[in-house]
Symmetry: C2
Subunit: 210 residues, 2 copies
C-alpha cells in the first residue's frame, strides 16, 4: 500500500480515515486559501486541490526518488508514490456558502437560517500522486442534502453555548448532540462529518488496482 | 424531567441517547419476542412495544405511587411517571426481513445480497408512560434507505471475519469500518445505527411540553 498523507488537521477527518482502516500520516497544508469560484461544488474542489498540492510540493521529492527505484509492475499510482489527500467542506443554503462561524452571534444566525429547512453539504477531495513518474491530480466531490427539524430560539442558543458549532462549517456537528435536530439526509453521512469515506475508499481502490 | 428507562441492552442505543444528553437508566426486557406481522414497519412497531411493555410492567408500580402524589400542573406525561423506551431494528430487502445473522455463512449470504443494492432499515420505537394516572403506549417508526457500493467476495469475507456483523441486523454496522461500502442513505443515519434519535427527541419533547 502506498503511503497516504492527509493534508488536514481536522480530528474528524483523521477519525474517518482510521475508521475504515487506512493507515496515514498527517501533513497540514499551510497555503493561503484562494477562492476564484462561486458554485459550492467548484469551491470545495478548488480548495481541496490547493491543500493537497501544497502538501504534495513538500513530499514529492521522496516520490521521485521512489519512482526511479521502482522495478515491479506499475499500478496507476506508482507503488512507492505517496498519495496526498486534501479535503474541504462547505454548507450551502439559499445560494449562500456557509463556512465556519466567525463568532457565537454568527453561529446563531446560521442555525436560525437552517432551522426547519433543507441545506446542502459539499466536500471536495483531491488526490495528488505520481503515475509513471508523472504528477497527477484527481479531484471529486460529494453532495449531501440535510434536513433539520425546526429549532426553538432556546435550543439554538443552548447549542451555540456548548461551543460545538465554532469549528464547523454551517455551525453544527451532525455527529454530536446536534443529532437531536436532524430529520434526515440524502447522500453520504460521513460527507457531512467532513470526508465522504465511502467514495474516497472506492476512488483510492481504483487508483491502486486498475 | 421524567425518569427515562431504556428497555434495551444495545450499546449503540445507549450511546445515541447519551449523545443527545438524555439521562436514562437501562432495564432490559426479558420477554420472548412474538411476531404476528409480516410488513417490516409493523414488525418493528410490534417488537418495540413488546419490549417497552415488558419493562413497563416492572416499573409502573413506582409510577402509580408517584402519580397519586402529584400536585403540580400535569403535562401530557405525568411529571413523575417514568418513560420506558423500547426499540427494534430490522433490515428489509426484496420483501425479506433480515435480522442478526445466525452465523458467519449467514452474514456472507446477507452481505452478498445487499452488495451493490439499496435496502431499507426500519426502527420501531415505543414509549410507555402514565398520563393522568392512565397507562399510555405511543409507537412510531422511521425508515431509512441505504445503498451499498458493490463489494468483492474478498471484501465481504474479510469484513465478516472481523466479527463486526454478528450482532447486527443485516450483518453490517454502518458506523464502523463498513462505512467504506456505503454509497449513501435517504433518511436518518442514526435510525440505521439502531435508534432514530432526532425523531425520538422531537416525540419526547412533545410528550413533556404539550
Amino acid at each position: 500500500m502506498n503511503k497516504v498523507i492527509l493534508a488536514s488537521a481536522s480530528p474528524r477527518r483523521k477519525e474517518l480515515l482510521k475508521q475504515i482502516g487506512i493507515e496515514f500520516e498527517v501533513c497540514v497544508s499551510t497555503c493561503e486559501e484562494k477562492i476564484t469560484k462561486t458554485i459550492p461544488a467548484e469551491v470545495v474542489c478548488e480548495l481541496s486541490a490547493q491543500k493537497a498540492l501544497d502538501v504534495w510540493q513538500k513530499v514529492k521529492v521522496d516520490s521521485k526518488v521512489a519512482v526511479s527505484d521502482a522495478t515491479g509492475q506499475q499500478n496507476v499510482a506508482d507503488k512507492q508514490s505517496p498519495i496526498v489527500i486534501g479535503a474541504d467542506t462547505v454548507v450551502a443554503y439559499d445560494g449562500k456558502i456557509l463556512g465556519k462561524p466567525a463568532d457565537k452571534e454568527d453561529a446563531v444566525r446560521m442555525l436560525s437560517m437552517l432551522s426547519g429547512n433543507t441545506h446542502e453539504v459539499y466536500t471536495g477531495v483531491t488526490f495528488c500522486y505520481a503515475e509513471s513518474g508523472t504528477e497527477k491530480v484527481h479531484t471529486f466531490y460529494e453532495r449531501t442534502a440535510v434536513t433539520f427539524y425546526p429549532m426553538s430560539w432556546e435550543e439554538i442558543v443552548n447549542y451555540v453555548a456548548s461551543g460545538d458549532p465554532m469549528d464547523k462549517a454551517g455551525a453544527y456537528g451532525i455527529q454530536g448532540s446536534f443529532a437531536a435536530y436532524v430529520k434526515g439526509i440524502e447522500g453520504d453521512y460521513n460527507n457531512v462529518v467532513g470526508l465522504p469515506i465511502g467514495r474516497l475508499y472506492q476512488e483510492i481502490k481504483e487508483l491502486l488496482d486498475k
